[in-house]
Symmetry: C3
Subunit: 348 residues, 3 copies
Amino acid sequence: MFPKNTWYVAATSEELTDKPLGRKICNEPMVFFRNENEQVAALEDFCPHRGAPLSLGRICAGKLVCGYHGLEMGCDGKTVAMPGQRVRGFPPIRSFPVRELYGFIWVWPGDPLAADEKLIAQPIWHDKPQWAYAGGMFHIACDYRLMIDNLMDLTHETYVHADSIGQKEIDEAPCKTSVEGDHVATARFMNGIQAPPFWKMALRGSELADHVLVDRWQICRFSPPSQVMIEVGVAHAGQGGYDAPDESKVYGVVVDYLTPETDTSMWYFWGMARKFKPNDAAMTDAIRNGQHKIFSEDLEMLEQQQRNLLRHPNRKLLMLNIDAGGVQARKVIDRLIAQEQDVANTLA
Amino acid sequence: MFPKNTWYVAATSEELTDKPLGRKICNEPMVFFRNENEQVAALEDFCPHRGAPLSLGRICAGKLVCGYHGLEMGCDGKTVAMPGQRVRGFPPIRSFPVRELYGFIWVWPGDPLAADEKLIAQPIWHDKPQWAYAGGMFHIACDYRLMIDNLMDLTHETYVHADSIGQKEIDEAPCKTSVEGDHVATARFMNGIQAPPFWKMALRGSELADHVLVDRWQICRFSPPSQVMIEVGVAHAGQGGYDAPDESKVYGVVVDYLTPETDTSMWYFWGMARKFKPNDAAMTDAIRNGQHKIFSEDLEMLEQQQRNLLRHPNRKLLMLNIDAGGVQARKVIDRLIAQEQDVANTLA
Amino acid sequence: MFPKNTWYVAATSEELTDKPLGRKICNEPMVFFRNENEQVAALEDFCPHRGAPLSLGRICAGKLVCGYHGLEMGCDGKTVAMPGQRVRGFPPIRSFPVRELYGFIWVWPGDPLAADEKLIAQPIWHDKPQWAYAGGMFHIACDYRLMIDNLMDLTHETYVHADSIGQKEIDEAPCKTSVEGDHVATARFMNGIQAPPFWKMALRGSELADHVLVDRWQICRFSPPSQVMIEVGVAHAGQGGYDAPDESKVYGVVVDYLTPETDTSMWYFWGMARKFKPNDAAMTDAIRNGQHKIFSEDLEMLEQQQRNLLRHPNRKLLMLNIDAGGVQARKVIDRLIAQEQDVANTLA
């Protein structure tokens, strides 16, 4: 249950080195590789000769060479050579539109003719020296929509992340969800509270007092098909909170690109972009390590929740106001899937 | 294939500490926890909010708190609180009748109205200072009825446990099976034999001569749904055997509570109650360790037997006289299942 | 998809020691053991008493004793004894024709009446002191026919075994496939080339110059149901190649007996027979170790190819001239399976 005429993050740029990378996305086994100009190609992971996975092969002069019998594959899925064979009659394999932008490899699993690079949103921190970014990736055995629910409702921080970023004020402050077209936002504001340890550290790092009360915010922004950008920060209390001038606040964005692997598993690209001390490499590492630990705590819960739901496929869940972000995001996703279906039916 | 309107051992009392315990019983994922009065509750392991397993949560002031978003569950399956929410409209989840008796947690997976505490049989050793008890638990990937067969026919000791309690006299002595109502007993008497090492140790421990010939007995008693108590002991030969006066015999009970997890897996609660040297803690440990080792030897055989039977579902097995105990016990079980079905049909 | 009225290698002679050996062949779980005369028997791995696997038992005086309750099984599948029981009425279990010949245990999974020992081909190196043989066994999760394809087309050596026996000349030299009855041969001749390291070693070992150009050959010979003998060797260039006199060449046979375990897994008995330095035990070990390493490189490719094909069951693969050996071998196999089916239909 995912849209296919859309861009998903398939990998980070650093993952694509001098070897092919096999990864299943939206139920399609794909192989990614760079050609001689370092441009990325995405093909189905199936050699047309004998069905070997091309991802077990190697890259030679920008061609993907099958590791079994040496068939050479071009970026467009056409065989370009094979030792001792004329390859003109070889059936091409499927290629997928792919782009490398903003540090990620983006793939379009649906109709290639509909692929439009302009639909890939530029992240706010891209190409801005005042920002730093670091992140990582997890494989999680759950429907990507359970992770959207998770990210659009941060009250779980109080329980799942009780020892790190959770604080009682989170589930005491009401949240508000709003929808604009295909975009959903759930905002929570906690005013006049003690900053939790992470934000104390950030205040000190920005040469701001860390022992005073702060206004804290969390604004979870969903955009289709499955990305959630969470604006997070604190300002010295009474300076305007989220709208306070830059001199009295520290803030960043928790970055979540979710990519379906199958109907019940996903690739989770997570990270944090921050607008303080961008050149402090030790802080960058510390934040990434902290995030890795925190997001790991969600894994077991999500995977076990998935198993419970598979056992009870027809059981109705509750939709509380804290769930509104996830509920609205799913409505957007359902609408996009229905639109794709309508187009498919019209063409059929 | 198991009765559901009956009590099964779900856990030992010691297993239920200050954390919830998740365990599947008769195909039902359940969560067990203690309330503020240390009383045990059993609920289905499914948070009504978003389907997370409640067993991943924690216990706060006798309430089970979901580890995902903090929903608080009472012992009866009704939500009692959730941060920022009115919970009156929340659908209750299923609760199961549960009792803590004789060192075990007992659960009734069937119709709660039929649950009757008096049906839990009091073990012979309970509350008697002359007796000592120790045991353990295994998970086994086999139908619990294969374990009943195993326990009701101890000739397997000669082969599976050749290096420990087995002795040639066991399969040379004929056994006799009798049925009384829902209870089945298979008895074997071996008179005038050498005591095996375990019973020599027990004789010495009771200050009885250990080098003389003994009369040995094994009486396997099945009671529904799936418990097997095996009376075992030796008496100095010619003193009356099983009926000899206490001064010339040593004896105990091998305790087996079998609980179906699924149709092809089970929880095996095993132990030994003995009526000699009850205060010798070192002997208690030694017996438990020995039993652990001996019962481990049955595991692979039973699991592989199960796999073989699944491969040949229609193949007829032999029913020899040594199998009579298991055969009769299965008849009792089949009758109880049929009775439940009759009641269900009448109500439908 | 395999013939059943045929001999398959079930094990090496050394594998059958004083313990029974359980192994599934052509979807049949079998148990192999030696009787008191060291003769091998093959039975289904299922005790007629309670369904325990007989392979968990032991061998006593040439009888297979079930490890559960001591039933004793003869070589013909008839129960010969059981403690305290009359066994005359016990149903026999299935026995399979089995032979020990040429260092291997051969089993016939089909109609026992059709089993004919003369159909087991004598290997060329058997009983010849000028030859040495060593080998090993792998379990591979792929249809045995994918391994036939692999072995009948050695162009894969250039890619899969690039670091060991592969050389560019292999896929540059055309190969030729011929069929004679049920036998298929694919031959490749590479004349006037540098000998690769393995053959340089063999030349030196035979006191032949190793720095001169050689003529190299590879002749892959398939015989039903699933054996591939590959004649390999080099001769000093211009001496007649394959037909050169023995004084100017070194050669051997790569031995491959493939045995289906299930439809998508197999037992792979591999080895090398060589006609040089037969008494050099260190060389024998070195060749076995080298082959072990080389064949290991094929494992992942074949298993992943199998998974890819299972995902795309209806997708057509290419049949190039390099694939002709495999294509023709599969035709032979298909014909044998169809013949068995015809016979079965006639009898039905």
